[in-house]
């Protein structure tokens, strides 16, 4: 406990230099602008910033990326409140009550609530990042080939199930990602797979150009396809957060923070699901349900706390298992590998200081969004009025630079183009991108560990289903898949109703129904 605090103190002290603070402030501002501009996502922002930070020291580079990530997730709330357009998918839930408050002339208060929720959400996530990472690191040390295989499958299945609105298409996208990861030299014998004699394919499909394509170029095409809409901005009042909002909704804040962090830990799910889940939980527990969607302070607070708590949460599996909790966290994982940081089960053994460096980075990012939240509203309003016709061509140029700069290969630009066009078409057909990205990240883990496991057991499948962690992961996967099949779903609902019947509170016949007005 105290060791952790001391290491955290060291991390804070090491970041207290003018250059580092400048990096953090600039990166958060860039993230905020990216997040605020509809069509530009946190994933794209972090991917493009990775290119810029290639020559920096690892800690500076990761700090910049984390500040961009936190800034972008927070920035999405600005356009959600002022324009009713979520700047990032994570802010979609904030549109409901944020824009409703803005329509009532309370845009400033809504932005203050978003700032409060985002900062507190990041702090709650940060607390769990500091406390859960060592624990999860211990558990991860027990993982062998069988467990890592199931973890990869679990990531793809759960991500496919929770992102988007069609689990079957999510799983197809995930397995497509797993296949893409098998292209190139495989990890055990360096044998070329699906390269067709093309040398550039031997190195495999690099994650960053694929991500820049799927999240950058595809977004550029999506925005350019539609005629630009007139920007109608709401006027805004004072943006200073109110202490009363925090004190009044402290339960909602803590609940949303915990939900957001928990969803962040689940591989590949991400901030949008965290925001919606926190929002739904707040609505269920609220005494003012009828206000939700009509300008509820509690609803906006829940959504903003949930999505920002998800950011530190999604970094927990990155550090302990080298499995990203969200699409931007996948870029963060790639950036860590580029900079020679080795996340995974051994991180608490080999470089525990780095874990607390990341916690300190989250704190710095949250302070930066607090500063910008209080000061930069007018500038952001101006930025939101810049026509997208001017922004998108520059973004595409950055996509080209971003995909080329990593390995100085023109081939990577072609990879970006391919994934951009394919990503655009897949989105139009309702295939989510997050499972695809997670599949590309987890493909190597799945490939090596399935074959290692089979070699170790000489082809016997029993260890895949009998080791404690393996069987838990397998049951979770099987349960997730089966619950999406209507007949199993109905059977599970009936079974649950039967099992839980004795524990449910029975209503007395003389009890008036008006005593449960909020159900």
């Amino acid at each position: 406990m105290f060791d952790g605090l001391i290491m955290f103190g060291h991390s804070i002290a090491s970041f207290a230099t003018p250059t580092t603070i400048l990096y953090a402030l600039v990166a958060t501002l860039v993230g905020l602008v990216i997040g605020a501009l509809p069509g530009l996502t946190a994933t794209m922002g972090v991917a493009l910033m990775t290119t810029m930070t290639l020559t920096l020291q690892p800690n500076d580079a990761i700090l910049i990326l984390i500040c961009t990530y936190v800034g972008a997730i927070y920035g999405g709330s600005r356009s959600a409140i002022l324009l009713n357009i979520p700047g990032t998918p994570a802010s979609a839930a904030s549109c409901l009550d944020g824009y409703a408050l803005a329509r009532q002339g309370l845009a400033g208060r809504a932005m203050g609530i978003a700032t409060t929720g985002s900062v507190l959400g990041t702090w709650i996530g940060m607390f769990f990042l500091a406390t859960l990472t060592p624990v999860l690191g211990e558990v991860a040390l027990k993982f062998g080939a069988y467990e890592f295989f199931w973890l990869a499958v679990f990531g793809v299945v759960i991500s496919g199930n929770l992102t988007g609105n069609d689990p079957l298409k999510g799983w197809i996208a995930g397995f497509l990602g797993l296949f893409i990861a098998t292209i190139g030299q495989e990890g055990l014998y360096a044998h070329d797979r699906f390269t067709f004699g093309y040398h550039d394919l031997s190195g495999g499909i690099a994650l960053l150009p694929a991500l820049v394509g799927a999240f950058g170029f595809a977004e550029v095409l999506t925005v350019m396809r539609d005629k630009p809409r007139d920007v109608i901005l709401n006027s805004f009042d004072a943006v200073i957060p109110r202490i009363r909002d925090v004190l009044q909704y402290w339960r909602t804040i803590i609940r949303s923070g915990v939900i957001g962090t928990g969803i962040g830990i689940i591989p590949g799910v991400g901030e949008d699901v965290a925001a919606w889940s926190s929002y739904a939980a707040a609505r269920r527990a609220s005494k003012e349900k009828e206000k939700f969607g009509k300008g509820s302070v509690e609803g906006l607070m829940a959504a903003e706390t949930g999505d920002n708590a998800c950011v530190p949460g999604s970094v927990i599996p990155v550090l302990t298992l080298a499995v990203p909790g969200s699409a931007p966290a996948a870029v963060l994982l790639a950036a860590m590998l580029i900079h020679g940081v080795q996340p995974g089960p051994l991180i608490m053994v080999n470089s525990p200081q780095f874990v607390f460096d990341v916690v300190a980075m989250m704190l710095i990012a949250s302070v930066a969004i607090l500063i910008y939240g209080l000061t930069l509203t007018r500038l952001l309003v101006k930025i939101l009025q810049v026509p997208q016709t001017l922004v998108m061509p520059v973004i595409f140029v950055l996509c080209v630079v971003g995909s080329f700069a990593l390995a100085s290969r023109v081939f990577d630009i072609y990879v970006m183009l391919f994934f951009g066009i394919a990503g655009f078409l897949l989105r139009r057909l309702n295939y989510p991108m997050a499972p695809l990205v997670l599949g590309i990240v987890l493909g190597d883990l799945l490939d090596k560990n399935l074959r290692r496991g089979l070699v170790l057991s000489d082809g016997d499948l029993t260890p895949f289903f009998t080791r404690p962690i393996s069987v838990v992961l397998f049951l979770l996967i099987a349960g997730t898949v089966l619950l999406n099949i209507p007949v199993f779903h109905r059977a599970a609902v009936s079974l649950w109703a039967y099992v839980s019947a004795p524990f449910r509170r029975t209503k007395r016949p003389d009890q008036p129904t008006s005593r449960r007005p909020h159900d």
């Binding site: 044998h191 140029v397 700069a405 023109v410 630009i413 066009i421 074959r451």
Partner: protein, 168 residues
């Protein structure tokens, strides 16, 4: 994400594409070298994992096709009607982006100039209808060129000079 639900026919087509891709993956995996000459275990053969992924993709593609069929895909519901005029903006964007990334980058002009040309042409092309209606074509062209040059040089300066990143 686009929330519009695609038609059953689109799902049938995409499902059949996945089945075809999965079949190609399975055939490729089956025909892949099993490295027996290296005394490698059959369980570590490079084709095992892609083969299994191919099987899973084929199954899911078939389920998607069946679901689309039940939803009336073959009855003609939701067949797309492609009109070039509806997709003019998208096709223009794709053409300009491909022309820049494949035709301009690394083909002679320095990156800042290539980027400036692309940005200027794209901005002008996408503002053309409004500019023409407002009779400000010349002004629009001038703004596009200046904006392109400033943006192209800014990208060059920030990446190459400030962050020492190699540009194409």
């Amino acid at each position: 994400m686009d929330d519009r639900k695609p038609s059953a026919f689109a799902d049938l087509v995409s499902g059949s594409c996945w089945v075809a891709l999965a079949a190609a993956i399975m055939i490729g995996s089956w025909r892949m070298d099993r490295l027996e000459h290296l005394q490698a275990s059959i369980y570590s053969a490079p084709g095992i994992v892609p083969g299994l992924i191919g099987v899973a993709l084929a199954l899911m593609g078939l389920v998607l096709m069946l679901r689309a069929w039940w939803a009336g895909a073959l009855a003609g519901a939701g067949r797309p009607r492609f009109a070039w005029s509806e997709h003019a903006r998208l096709l223009t964007a794709v053409a300009l982006c491909l022309a820049f990334a494949i035709g301009l980058v690394g083909r002679g002009p320095p990156f800042w100039l290539a980027a400036a040309i692309f940005i200027a042409v794209t901005v002008f092309a996408f503002q053309f209808p409004e500019r023409r209606a407002a009779r400000t074509l010349l002004r629009g062209a001038l703004i596009a060129v200046v904006y392109g040059l400033v943006s192209g040089y800014a990208v060059h300066y920030v990446f190459q000079e400030l962050f020492l990143v190699r540009l194409p």
